[in-house]
């Protein structure tokens, strides 16, 4: 029966593993440059990498370190003291929550507007409407991100209601934890259709054969917000300067063209 004890002990260790926390990023900075830590929503990874390269060319003394993750996870990490300077969320709710709780230096600012598309792994008739595609008998599963937590999920739900087909396709809906999981369901072909971001269609890894734009009238705009996080200690002037420089850089022409390239709109105030 000794093996049992070992087994139970092992299972307890597994259980414990679930509660372990993600390691915080390393803050060593041997070169003496000014370093900015940026937490970026996973859906904005590719455009952010481009933005970073251009910014670093113009400001060689600044170093930018990135952490990628789901906006919700990044938010709870920031709440629990993750040493992040700038947070680019995939929506406005999470940065707004951080602002309301006093974790940020400023109100969230829109840095990009996401666009919703309908996508399928298989070749589909391009002239059919969204409703025709989704109401078809061959369409068994439609993947959307969880409308309660993911902005693209909320937008997808609004679109379905706008076209008056929500009740009819309700039983075909499967929910991804985020837009990333919707993309998994699409690329494996498990779901016949899915609502995802235009940036997915523009990415290099996209091998889906069909996508079509969703009329932006049918859903409320998907605003992605950025906030500067309040540091625990007052930062050096240089660092603060670098931070605001990078923050302002998001309204530059360079960034606008990157946004367009990756399927986002820029925000005009």
């Amino acid at each position: 029966m000794k093996n049992f004890k070992t087994l139970i002990l092992l299972s307890l260790i597994f259980v414990n593993g679930v509660f372990s926390e993600t390691a915080e990023p390393d803050f060593n900075n041997p070169k003496g440059e000014t370093e900015i830590f940026v937490a970026v929503a996973a859906n904005f990874k590719s455009p952010f990498e481009d933005i970073r390269v251009i910014f670093l060319k113009q400001n060689p003394k600044i170093k930018i370190t990135m952490v990628f993750g789901a906006s919700g996870q990044l938010t709870s990490q920031i709440r629990n003291g993750a040493p992040v300077n700038l947070f680019l969320s995939a929506d406005m709710d999470f940065p707004l929550a951080l602002f309301n709780e006093g974790f940020t230096q400023n109100k969230p600012k829109v840095y990009a507007i996401g666009k919703l598309i309908l996508m399928s792994h298989k070749e589909k008739n391009k002239s059919s409407s969204v409703s025709e595609h989704l109401l078809s008998e061959n369409t068994k599963f439609i993947a959307i991100a969880n409308p309660r937590t993911a902005p693209y999920g909320r937008a997808a739900e609004e679109t379905l209601k706008y076209y008056g087909i929500y009740e009819k396709v309700k039983d075909k809906l499967v929910f991804g934890e985020s837009i990333t999981q919707v993309n998994q369901f699409l690329s494996t072909g498990s779901a016949d259709f899915g609502f995802t971001s235009l940036s997915t269609a523009k990415s290099k890894e996209n091998h889906n054969l069909f996508w079509q734009n969703i009329d932006s009238k049918s859903y409320s705009p998907i605003h992605q917000g950025v906030v500067i996080i309040k540091p625990k200690e007052t930062p050096a002037t240089e660092k603060n300067l670098a931070l605001h420089q990078f923050f302002d850089f998001f309204s530059s022409k360079d960034v606008k063209s990157i946004l367009t390239k990756y399927g986002y709109d820029s925000y005009e105030e």
Binding site: F4, N146, V174, Q181, S190
Partner: protein
């Protein structure tokens, strides 16, 4: 605010079914692994025990690919049965069967191999068939191990998350089990509901483990007395 009981009921249903199905199919597997003299059985042992060490997401990922209509297997199922395993209760049941199999298997193997050899030998001398020996000698003599295997499997399935997350699609009433519901409530910053589900899982799992440890002692003593 009311909390939807569906995810909890679904979790219990999944755990119960997994336990029942596994207790049946693990018997022949454990029997073969314990008593067979096949040289390479350790290879099978290794494969069946992989879910113990692999992250559940690995299993979930492979199952998602396998169940996809683009894969020959998923495509075949869809053609013949007009049924897609991904996003169904059946799908997450298969996932949790594979995922919990090592727990049941370990327990059964420990039980089977702890039986006094002379019992089996005596039965063989008396001309009993292998099947009779299994049902009349082996199984009755390792009730403790079987019970432990069932309890562990049940508890383990309640805690399952990764596999279901990857292949379930979080459909209310079908694949949205309690662990997924907790994850979603936390993501939605809806901590009250998350607390309710989480607390319920703690209570259920603890009760189950309490039963295990309470009776494990008794049963071990009985077994020890016999041996």
């Amino acid at each position: 605010m009311l909390v939807d009981p569906d995810p909890l009921l679904l979790t219990l249903k999944l755990a119960l079914l997994t336990t029942v199905v596994l207790s049946v199919i693990t018997v022949p597997i454990a029997y073969w692994l314990t008593f067979s003299s096949f040289r390479y059985r350790f290879v099978f042992e290794t494969i069946l025990n992989l879910p113990l060490v692999l992250p559940p997401t690995v299993l979930g990922f492979y199952l998602l690919l396998l169940f996809s209509p683009n894969h020959w297997f998923g495509g075949w199922i869809e053609e013949v049965f007009h049924f897609r395993i991904a996003f169904s209760f059946f799908g997450i049941l298969i996932g949790s069967l594979l995922f919990s199999l090592p727990f049941m298997l370990q327990a059964f193997q420990v039980g089977f191999s702890s039986i006094t050899k002379s019992y089996i030998e005596t039965a063989m001398v008396l001309g009993k068939s292998k099947l009779t020996i299994l049902f009349r000698v082996i199984l009755p003599n390792c009730k403790a191990a079987i019970l432990a295997g069932m309890v562990l499997t049940f508890a383990h399935t309640i805690g399952e998350f990764g596999v279901v997350l990857l292949i379930g699609g979080s459909i209310p009433g079908k694949t949205k089990v309690a662990s997924i519901a907790i994850f979603e409530e936390v993501e939605a910053m809806n901590y009250f509901s998350a607390h309710v589900y989480a607390a319920m899982l703690v209570v259920i799992s603890m009760t189950v483990l309490l039963l295990l440890f309470r009776y494990k002692r008794n049963l071990t003593m009985i077994l020890a007395g016999k041996n």
